[in-house]
């Protein structure tokens, strides 16, 4: 009796050690990842402190003094800065429109590709429309400037540089986004459509449904969960609004409508090296709002009976 108790005690005592021993190789494999995430993701999170300081790189994070207004001086400044509100408005407009436009474009593209009946056409078309995804925005911007830029083909015939036109710039932004990404984003929906049971379509045939009715009543409901999941996932990126794209396409005359948070941070603080505190404050604002957005959309989706992500 006594002996057994002691053995049990030992086992309890050694349980932790045994667990470590059992999983030591897996732990070994995960150590690089832990180091990586701590260094490149969590240390910058500590760097959020910069947003509350009059930061000077030479003094370091812990040497710099706190900003006025109980440390909220940087936020006070940006919220009283008209340029910030312009930039924020641009970001929301561009982010939301791009999200919706590319969402709809991808689904339409998938429906169209799915309806093409000749296999050869389908494959060729898909190959062509997917290709631009693999080019960087640097190159796409070059191609756009050839057509709408200062020396572009269209510019010569209508005598306006559309990439430098405040009213038209956003159209170029959305258009180039569709041009580059619609084909690629449609693949995910096409994969879902391939998984729809053909029996559903056969049953619809017998009921005398037309092709449009089949799309509306079978295909669209089938891709709905995927679509909602993707919509939620992209919600977090609204305030990012595509730095690469905007940065490569915009020019000084359109800053007023095209400048987004990321380009604003880059232009005003990174490039000049001035006011890192302000830049960090804008960055923190962006991170927090994005995070809240993701959580909110996830909750809403769950309330509506869809599968969330968190």
């Amino acid at each position: 009796m006594n002996k057994r108790l002691i053995i049990n005690n030992n086992r309890l005592f050694n349980d932790f050690g045994a667990k470590v021993n059992r999983s030591k190789y897996l732990i070994l494999m995960i150590i690089p990842a832990i180091i990586f995430y701590i260094v490149f993701c969590y240390l910058p999170m500590c760097g959020i402190l910069i947003a509350f300081e009059n930061y000077f790189p030479k003094k370091g994070i812990f040497g710099s003094s706190f900003a006025d207004h109980h440390g909220f001086g940087n936020f006070y400044k940006i919220f009283h800065d008209d340029e910030f509100w312009t930039v924020l408005r641009n970001t929301v407009i561009i982010g939301v429109s791009k999200l919706l436009i590319s969402f709809v474009a991808a689904i339409l593209m998938a429906l169209i590709i799915n309806e093409i009946r000749l296999r050869f056409f389908k494959k060729t078309f898909q190959t062509i429309v997917t290709f631009p995804h693999f080019l960087s925005w640097v190159i796409v911007a070059g191609l756009v400037f050839n057509i709408f830029g200062a020396n572009g083909v269209v510019t010569k015939s209508i005598n306006t540089t559309l990439t430098q036109d405040k009213d038209f710039f956003l159209v170029i932004l959305y258009g180039s986004d569709i041009w580059k990404e619609a084909g690629w984003s449609s693949i995910i929906y096409l994969a879902t459509m391939a998984g729809i049971s053909p029996e559903l379509y056969e049953a619809a045939d017998i009921d005398g449904a037309t092709r449009l009715q089949k799309i509306w009543h079978i295909t669209l409901p089938a891709i709905k969960p995927t679509a909602i999941l993707l919509l939620i996932l992209s919600m977090g990126g609204i305030l990012s609004a595509g730095f690469d794209q905007v940065f490569n396409l915009y020019t000084k005359p359109v800053y007023e409508v095209a400048d987004i948070l990321d380009t604003y941070i880059y232009r005003t603080t990174l490039k000049t090296g001035a006011r890192p505190g302000i830049g960090a404050a804008v960055g923190l604002f962006k991170s927090v709002v994005s995070f809240i957005l993701v959580i909110m959309v996830d909750r809403i989706a769950k309330l509506c009976g869809e599968r969330g992500i968190i």
Partner: protein
């Protein structure tokens, strides 16, 4: 009245059904759309190509075919040291960077795909948080300086070690493989590292190729890190060299005053210098890309 030959097909192929071979309005619409949209995709490339083979003063007209053909611009491109230097940097990134990213992403994905081990949930949550929250650019910039990576070649490689999205993709893939393999290997006395390298890795080569290709494309197209952190011109990757060429005249307000120091033709020839390798490999690699996306979609 239906004709006899129609009746023969009628029961099996009702109008509008999958087996109805008749060409309808919708097919014509689809065909027209394919044609128009296909041309919209292709025209910018064709236009760029025309510009690159035109003499420098006739580039801005709408042309269906080139009036004068000159290979002068390509001649300059092939003798331009900055482009070749950029290509060299990009190739290093392409091979070293891709191998590096693949290694760390895959072992992390594997470790997270295994059943219970101590601290797995903690690590998993720690990683997921980073997908939705980050410190922002300025703290990251300060970190890079503190680590001594500023203006260092390694800054274009090291911070990319693990791509969370692709890592989760890999994890889902490993988790979908039968667990019996692991158990039988365990009984034979293999440890987790051996099981990974000898059992699971050989089984997942297609998936590895897919993710490797994503990384390779990312590295081929990378310019952002270089723009932020690299000041030495000999470390500029190809895309960044190109970015500077293109941006140089983009902000030019009245296009007429542009000097021909960097001509449009030369720029477009450089663009083709970067697109052509992609165009050559793309048709062969397409199915890998599609596969990777699909696996991520359905399991994710």
């Amino acid at each position: 009245m239906r004709k006899f030959k129609d009746i023969k097909y009628l029961p099996l192929r009702p109008k509008g059904s999958t087996f109805d071979k008749r060409v309808t309005m919708m097919d014509w619409f689809l065909f027209a759309f394919m044609l128009v949209y296909g041309l919209i995709i292709i025209y910018p490339f064709y236009n760029a190509f025309l510009i690159s083979i035109s003499p420098n003063n006739v580039f801005n007209e709408f042309l269906l075919y080139p009036k004068h053909v000159t290979w002068h611009n390509y001649n300059i491109v092939f003798h331009k040291a900055t482009l070749w230097g950029g290509l060299r940097v990009t190739l290093v990134l392409l091979f070293v960077g891709t191998a590096y990213q693949l290694f760390f992403t895959v072992i992390t994905g594997y470790a997270l795909s295994r059943n219970k081990w101590l601290g797995k949930n903690f690590v998993m949550n720690m990683i997921l948080v980073t997908m939705f929250f980050g410190g922002g650019l300025i703290p990251y910039m300060q970190l890079i300086s503190k680590l001594g990576l500023y203006d260092n070649f390694l800054v274009m490689i090291i911070p990319g070690a693990i791509d969370t999205y692709n890592m989760l993709l890999m994890r889902n893939y490993f988790a979908s493989l039968p667990p019996d393999l692991e158990e039988s290997a365990k009984i034979d006395g293999a440890n987790d590292v051996q099981i990974f390298f000898k059992v699971y890795l050989p089984m997942s080569l297609p998936m590895l190729a897919t993710i490797g290709l994503f990384f390779a494309v990312g590295n081929w197209n990378s310019w952002y890190n270089a723009m932020l952190f690299i000041k030495k011109e000999e470390y500029y990757p190809l895309q960044y060299v190109l970015q500077q060429l293109i941006q140089e005249t983009a902000s030019n307000v009245d296009g007429m005053a542009q000097k021909d120091a960097v001509s449009e033709g030369f720029k477009m020839a450089s663009v083709f210098f970067t697109i052509v390798p992609m165009m050559c490999f793309y048709p062969f690699l397409q199915r890998f890309f599609v596969k990777g996306l699909v696996v991520g979609a359905i399991k994710g």
